[in-house]
């Protein structure tokens, strides 16, 4: 038993790789390099050959795991196929991107091996031959280092924690075919085609300035404060998940792992605590300004400029000051 296997995820119709798969591949390569082990990849689908060849083009031996039952993702299909592949290939480490899909089945797959998933890993290093994986506790307030002394180790890596694999100059490696045995009856869920609720009218991803509001705003009536600030700045208004869950702002204004990913010139976070799920959606911003009453709020970990204080006093003062500046 040795080596690293990276499970590459595809978009729902299997036509392209999920954007986070190359981050998982980078993490897998880093782990393998630290262990002086091999790094392989796997692509699952009903006709995975061409994507498997694309991955192999990066110099990684790649399994094309092929079966008609893998045309669409199901937890049962993916778990059964990968269980069989792992039984044959016997990797010691299995690396996933911590996507919604991996969250749906990676822990189930690990359970089949009487193992655990070390999920949402933000960093890894190899200390004298032993990998150490870091994951966040308490919404990012603490980092916990994990080891996995023996047996098969399942790890998923957080979005944005590893720069996407850039090694495409290597000579192409081998594509190996793997045909798992899957019974239609063993797949107990029937998924539909993905759909959207409504046409998206707000594209936060191209907004140069974003004012974002979080739970600290307290009441829906108080939103006017941040709306006025956004208007003064000529900014798009965004929000963290709880604000959209409450229906105070439409879901399309949500930034984070379940919403939009943004990279503005300025991200002004008002009353946003900075849960991991929010941070992954905005840590690409050039400048982050955070206003929050809690000095320990994780948002300050990513903020360039921080103000610890009462947003109900600071935000109106800031709106006034911006308007005064513009008028001068």
């Amino acid at each position: 038993m040795s080596g690293v296997l990276v499970v590459m995820e595809t978009v729902s119709n299997g036509s392209a790789l999920h954007r986070m798969s190359l981050e998982a591949l980078a993490a897998g390569r880093k782990l393998a390099a630290g262990l002086s082990a091999t790094c392989d990849a796997a692509v699952l689908g009903s006709s995975p050959a061409s994507l498997a060849a694309t991955v192999a083009g990066r110099g990684v031996n790649t399994w094309a795991v092929e079966h008609a039952q893998l045309a669409h993702y199901t937890a049962d299909g993916w778990s059964a196929a990968l269980q069989q592949l792992i039984d044959q290939a016997k990797p010691q480490y299995i690396v996933f991107a911590h996507t919604y899909q991996a969250r749906d089945y990676a822990a189930k797959l690990a359970t089949r091996f009487s193992e655990v998933l070390i999920g949402d890993v933000t960093a890894l290093r190899v200390d004298s031959g032993t990998p150490v994986f870091t994951r966040q506790w308490m919404q990012g307030k603490l980092n916990a280092d994990y080891r996995h002394p023996a047996g098969t180790c399942f790890v998923s890596v957080q979005a944005g924690s590893f720069p996407p694999d850039a090694d495409s100059s290597a000579s192409a490696a081998e594509v190996k075919n793997f045909m798992p045995a899957l019974e239609a009856a063993a797949i107990r869920t029937t998924p539909s085609e993905p759909f959207r609720e409504a046409a998206q009218t707000v594209d936060l991803s191209s907004a140069p300035v974003i004012v974002s509001v979080g739970r600290g705003i307290g009441e829906q009536e108080n939103l006017k404060l941040v709306e006025d600030l956004a208007a003064a700045l000529g900014a798009e208004l965004a929000a963290s998940r709880p604000i959209c869950d409450a229906g105070w702002l439409p879901m399309e204004r949500q930034v984070g792992s379940s919403g939009q990913t943004v990279a503005p010139k300025l991200y002004l976070a008002v009353g946003v605590s900075g849960a991991i799920q929010h941070l992954v959606g905005m840590k690409g911003a050039s400048t982050v300004i955070a206003i929050n009453k809690d000095p320990d709020a994780p948002i300050f970990e990513v903020a360039d400029i921080g103000v610890v204080g009462d947003l109900f006093e600071i935000v109106p003062a800031l709106t006034q000051a911006i308007l005064a500046q513009k008028a001068s």
């Binding site: 990012g140 980092n143 916990a144 107990r188 029937t190 300025l266 970990e301 400029i305 000051a321 513009k326």
Partner: protein
Amino acid sequence: MKTESPDLVLTGLQSDDLGAGQTGVVMAELLGMPHTTLALHVELQPDATIKVKRELEDGWFQHVEMKLPALLTVQSGGNKLRYATLMGIKKAKSKETRAVNAAAVTARHDEIVKVAPPERVKRTEKLTGAPAEVAQKIVEKLKLEVKVL
């Protein structure tokens, strides 16, 4: 849980503290039930089948159908929170509760070697003062450094 033979098991998606998001997924495997994560709405169909609306990434959704018994992990936002009423809290005292012994926990496979606050990767400049002063300092930065004014 096995002795209860439930038709439907609901868990949260993930906890606020460890954020592992695995309890429901692992339990479904151990109970031999189909499952889906990130459930927002569920409808009972004929033939003891449920149709679940689940959240995907980037604003997409999907319906998933499965036979009961099944397990769902629930995403926030699908339903309004329902807080306990005073009457409900009073009535709860007369409801039956049963204590069961957990089977001995087997040795864990992973090992936590260190827990510490994260090292700061970014130097945050803290602005202090009265609200009007802080506001003026931010405006200066927006004008001269961030250049959005």
